[in-house]
């Protein structure tokens, strides 16, 4: 009786159709995302490869074409600057939020309330607004001119909240047992932090840093108004415009000369390669070190099998 009503009930046909439709739609959605994404990557390759010369990597930009050596170096120097400035500040800020700030007694909420809120607000600032602030305050206001220093400062401000967040999160995933063990062995707070806690949180921190660098090297809008642009590397931190890759893509793709188009495509390809290298290495770090990260909150068995995803939610842009 029951089985007949199940198999031939009034809603059965509709339900079967709805299920099939639903399944098909989810796959269609996946294809509609992956298709353009693959097209994008292949498109960059397809535009750059036909005119690719390896000499792009070691010749400098000339009025008729040339290569992108100094632009590539400039982007790498910018990344290095961001790594030093934002890496130091962001990681230390994350350590403060996760380990050092005292939790609020009454509410039992996470520590460092107002500072965390400031970091969250800063993370919400669009990069162009930060670029505007850099232009008005640093480039014009302090008279530094378009140069490396304001560019590194503005890019660092942009990614510090993200680095702090990923550092804090990965520190929070260090099992409580590690801290208790360090304490039980009589380690001082600084020693234990260095040798035990930071060591096991390092993969997560490095992953966050790599992603932040990937974002920093692909940024254009704030750089246009802080770094300016130059065909060759300057010898000064201030008062000298600075070369970088994204500007080449932005300005040269519709330049009058065909040679410049090719440079734009080459720059796009080099950018994609840099970003891919950073993302792949962060992914490798994450998958190599799965064992270390385990939730400190007791829901171990459930969480252990969860693949740790990269934190895209707070990526700056």
């Amino acid at each position: 009786m029951a089985s007949t009503s199940l198999s031939a009930g009034p809603g059965t046909r509709r339900r079967r159709v709805s299920t099939i439709t639903w399944r098909v739609l989810t796959y269609v959605a996946l294809v509609l995302i992956m298709g353009p994404a693959a097209w994008l990557l292949l498109g960059v390759l397809a535009r750059a490869l036909p005119h690719w010369h390896w000499s792009v990597l070691w010749t400098t930009l000339t009025p008729t074409g040339g290569g992108l050596r100094d632009q590539i170096l400039g982007t790498l120097i910018l990344m290095l600057g961001v790594f030093i400035v934002a890496g130091t500040i962001g990681v230390l800020a994350g350590i403060h939020l996760a380990e050092l700030a005292r939790p609020r007694r009454r509410s039992g909420k996470a520590s460092g309330g107002p500072l965390r809120t400031a970091s969250d607000i800063l993370a919400g600032f669009p990069s162009i607004v930060l670029g505007y602030v850099g232009y008005v305050a640093l480039v014009v206001g302090l008279g530094w001119g378009f140069s490396l220093l304001p560019a590194v400062i503005i890019l660092s401000i942009m990614v510090i909240p993200y680095i702090a967040k990923t550092t804090e999160n990965s520190l929070r995933q260090v099992p409580t047992g590690y801290r208790e063990g360090a304490e039980a062995l009589g380690m001082s707070m600084g020693y234990g932090l260095r040798k035990v806690i930071l060591k096991s949180a390092l993969p997560g921190i490095v992953t966050g840093l790599l992603l932040a660098l990937a974002i920093a090297c692909g940024e254009t809008a704030p750089l246009i108004y802080t770094a300016g642009f130059a065909p060759t590397l300057p010898h000064s931190l201030t008062h000298a415009q600075f070369p970088y890759l994204t500007y080449v893509v932005y300005q040269y793709y519709n330049a009058p000369e065909a040679n410049y188009h090719y440079l734009a495509f080459d720059a796009a390809l080099i950018l994609v390669v840099i970003v891919l290298l950073l993302l792949v290495s962060s992914r490798i770090i994450v998958s190599r070190t799965q064992r270390h990260s385990e939730s400190a909150r007791g829901t171990r068995s459930k969480r252990r099998w969860r693949r740790q995803p990269l934190d895209l939610t707070d990526l700056p842009r």
Partner: protein, 362 residues
Amino acid sequence: MASVGGVAGSIPATPHTESIGRPPLPKRLGRFARNNEERVWRGSAWIAVVLPLAALVFAVTVLAVKAWPAVRVNGWYFLYGRNWTEGSGYGAVVHTDGVAHPMGAQYGAWAILWGTLASSLIAIVIALPLSIGAAFALTERLPGWISRPLGFAIEILAGIPSVVIGLWGILTFGPWLAKYVYPIIADHAPNVPVLRYFRNPVGGGEGLLSAGIVLSLMIVPIITSTTRDLFMQVPPLPKEGASALGMTDWEVANKVTLPWVRSGIIGATVLGLGRALGETIAIVMIGGAVLRIPMNIYQPFTTVAATILTQLDGAFTDGTGFAVATLAELALVLAVISVAVNLIARLIITRTSRIGAPVGGV
């Protein structure tokens, strides 16, 4: 380590018993160097966490100080006005409320705000269903060996520089859309109120709809990855129970999984909205950065971010500095909207990402 040996040796009658559960107290160890190390850690970490706060205060102060003359002169007209003119660059300087500006300068940002909202809305409308569907396919249907690489591909998409996406959008994707997709929509759109905006002419692929579609591609990674993480947090028992009751895939998704994480998805969407509002370079390349409200959905337009980028250079030709002040006001408006959107999203997400306990009392 060696100096601690004495303490470690006396574990049974440890003097440390009372300090268990508290942070280790180096002063009990009595070593100056260690005391100092902690002080260095604490000091530098404190400085590091205060610096972003200082940067925030600095940025807000710069924006507010720069924007204040413009706020006073432009007034509310800034938000609803449709006329955006710098005034005469050569002639008379007028003073309004003690603020100098060129004669005839009038800044109404309605078209700019409209473009920002419209492009972000298009992006959300496209990205949200795609992301939910893709997240479902990734978590519920596909085996790990497929879904893991695909998840990584989505992460790559999040990392691709927006200028590269813009390049592809203006040279490849936009023209393709204008040639093969838009004519189909435009030829069949009826002449009724909203759908009228979808009618001809379709242009060359540089415009509002192209920018919205590309923008949706840029926010899809955020929404998909957040939604995927949320789906993974839904405990399996309610889903299995629903399946055991004879629910189909669609019913389990619709009645169990989605309600479980609904507010988290809303949070992720708002976060994507915040990203879309602030996107600059891809919009400048694909949207055309033309300051007017487009006649149909295929025409060039501009957004707040795009206007700041494209007009800041020219604004410095205004000797009174009023154009720069107006751009500061624009930046301030964008920052306020974007920060508000971002904070709301974070609030929703942090509130819902701790859904350890079943919502429906299962």
